[in-house]
Amino acid sequence: MTFKLTRRDLLAGAAATAGMSALPFGMGRARAAPSGVLRVIPHASLTILDPVATTGYIVRNHGYLIYDTLFAQDANLEVKPQMASGVEISDDKLTYRISLRDGLAWHDGSPVTAEDCALSLIRWGQVDGMGRRLFSYMESCTHDGTDTIVLKLSRPYGLVLQSIGKLSTNVPFMMPKRMAEKPTSERLTAEEQVGSGPFRFVGSEFRPGARVVYERNPDYVPRDEPASNAAGGKVVHLEGVEWINFPDPNTQLNALMTGEVDYWEQVPADLAPIVAGMPGVKVENFNPLGNMGMARFNSLVGASANPGVRKAIVRALDQTALLQAAVGSPEYYKECFSVFPCETTFANDADAGFIQEPDLEEAKKLLAESGYNGEPFVVLATTDIPVQTNYIQVIVDTMRRMGINVDAQAMDWATVLQRRASKNPIEDGGWNMFVTWWEGADLLDPVVQFAMSAAGDTAWVGWAQDDVIEGLRTEFAEAGSIDDQKEIARKIQSRFFEQNFHAVLGQFFTPTGYRDNVSGILEAPPFFWNIQKS
């Protein structure tokens, strides 16, 4: 048996090889991000496009690109006018007249009116925790027919501008009337994404879960002040911003290394040292407020409805051990023994010793005194978010060492979201604890901090109920000075450490990785104005 290789075969093979080598392989590097367009790896996929009706941070970041706000917080967390040119407050502090600055226009070319803004505030006020509280003081939210929004309150409220200038979810973004009139249970669609912000949403390029494209809004008139956090002049130096979703962190790392992307919003702490060592790449934390880990109890059912059990668990948890497991590198975490983010205005040390010095033996004693009799304690144990998974493992181990009959039920985050909405008893699918985290910006004071709400059914999941805390939150909102507010914040913390509707699990930071030709990045949430790419 022979296998003849003819000259024709040889020539065909040679031609094929030549053809392959003619492919422009070297141009792989030409796939680098185009100049003028910032290619970004966002921390999550953008699917919901309504930043007022939902709380996802990715939707908030989308909102900041294409919408604008009446007021905004600067890097010192002071509230500054943004779309507003100014505000007149009546002597009795019951009427706020907010005038709009000149030149504001929606992306479809129509002018921004006070009516649009009043309706936008009303829509936001139905959903956001701080908004709902503000609107509980509101007699009317209207306009004067020209360019002035008129807020009339039933009694003085100290957080009017802080509320409508809040930094994080749900941000009161301004929208055209047709969008602002939409019920919050109905979502804004891709076709409806019309804002007045510094970028425009390119609906035709929207690929949910894969790619979102924004282009510079050439008609945007920025303020004259320098950019500072969400406040100041939103000057856009880029032609556009492209969010590319990567499901795989290793590919994210490689894409940043080869320059195929310019900006990786949240580098996992375990990869940060590798990213920092890559040539042409920088790693920096742009969010000094960081995130606060939280183990939330269900205050309605089962063992976690017993304040004594909650107190015993909180007494046993060792923040340092938790942070080491969840985050790893001490560069990216910080013990924080306040219910408010450390080094912010209302962070304090009232009764902080209770969580600062964990004591397993005392925790066991507290547990025995609580009357706990070994009933199952259901933990919704997230498996697909590493920080949460690691937190949970330490918490469950601690609770078992205390003698608690822990039933850690493994599930993905989406299932946690479904399960935690249930108020059912434990035997009917109820739960006792889940772990999550909030951005520091959402926890700055007791009113903005929705997790602090203790209003029962209208509180956050877990349905904390405590009239003392709610009364103090109201006092805080109506307080006349910052010193008064600080004192109330201390009282709230003291009371909280008696009730323990959640356990504070420390503060951690997620750095940003970016190519060294990118500059002008502002503090988080990620803002894309002011950024330059050379």
Partner: protein
């Protein structure tokens, strides 16, 4: 033949109906996504409002009937999260998946069939053993390991090819070629291994047939014996494997799509599952079921072309 096609197409209806019922019920058993849609700070009342707005509070049979009526009208519904029609989302994602499937299958067949024939022809020699060792390795090494390995060599070290992404060939053929090479190579390893093994076994069997001996006795050149007589008669199982491979490539290459960041159907369905975006999951599984049924029909029809003895 036309009758067969018609019969098979009609028989897809109960198959798809069973798939629809099972998928719909399984999703409903896992709870509804109202709490996910309502957001992190939603109150119980807000979650209930979302539940009512999306109709999750209606009886399951009523929800099912509503969906089936929609599907019969060619409407797979809308994503609960983006509000975009499922058909639009499938249309957006199908091109990368089809292109990857096409390049993988073409490359795999071009490499695997000659390799399999060669191994059968040189059965028992080092060539045969080398091909089989490669086949075992191709099966054994996980796709993501191969993907990262190729990426490290060709993208990070040599900087010849991009790490990730997909560009349509209709937009930029060069960028398409650059982007598709590594995922194709990665996926092809499995399929080359699979097809080469099947080809070898099949051809080896036919090489022992009398008609092969007769062909050789008549003095036909070995290449003609191998490719015209042996391979053609061995083609039925090979075509079956290739057809099923195409079906698997359309629905099941999530890992490769994730490693190389290709926005295909596999990622669409996984993302939808993690969000509990029911209409997308239901629509895609129905779509995949349809693809399987149609590909099986095509394979059956191909048998009649390859083997004149087969008649339906």
């Amino acid at each position: 033949m036309p009758l067969l096609v018609l019969q098979r197409l009609v028989s897809t209806i109960p198959v798809l109906l069973v798939v629809a019922v099972i998928v719909f019920l399984m999703l409903r058993i896992s709870g509804d996504p109202a709490a996910i849609l309502a957001g992190d700070t939603a109150t119980s009342a807000q979650i209930e409002a979302v539940r009512q707005a999306f109709g999750f509070d209606r009886p399951i049979w009523e929800q099912f009937l509503g969906w089936i009526v929609q599907v019969l009208q060619g409407d797979l519904g809308e994503s609960l999260f983006t509000g975009l029609p499922v058909t639009t989302l499938i249309a957006q994602r199908i091109e990368p998946t089809l292109m990857l499937a096409l390049t993988t299958i073409v490359f795999s067949v071009l490499v695997a069939v000659p390799l399999g024939v060669l191994a059968a022809w040189r059965s028992g020699t080092w060539i045969d053993r080398a091909v089989m060792v490669f086949a075992v390795l191709g099966f054994s090494v996980p796709v993501f390991v191969l993907g990262y390995g190729f990426m490290y060599v060709f993208s990070i070290e040599l900087r010849l090819l991009p790490v990730q992404g997909y560009t349509s060939p209709f937009v930029d053929p060069v960028a398409f070629a650059q982007g598709i090479i590594l995922p194709t190579l990665t996926l092809s390893c499995i399929y080359i291994a699979l097809i080469a093994r099947i080809t070898r076994a099949s051809v080896l069997e036919t090489l022992n047939e009398d008609y092969i001996r007769t062909a050789r006795a008549k003095g036909q050149v070995e290449r003609t014996v191998l490719f015209r007589h042996a391979l053609r008669n061995a083609a039925v199982p090979i075509v079956t494997v290739i057809g099923l491979g195409v079906a698997l490539l359309i629905g099941g290459v999530v890992v490769t799509e994730s490693v190389f960041n290709i926005p295909g159907l596999g990622r669409l369905v996984v993302d939808a599952i993690t969000r509990r975006d029911y209409p997308i999951i239901q629509g895609l599984i129905l779509f995949f079921a349809l693809i399987y049924v149609v590909l099986n029909l095509i394979i059956d029809l191909a048998y009649t072309l390859l083997d004149p003895r087969i008649r339906y």
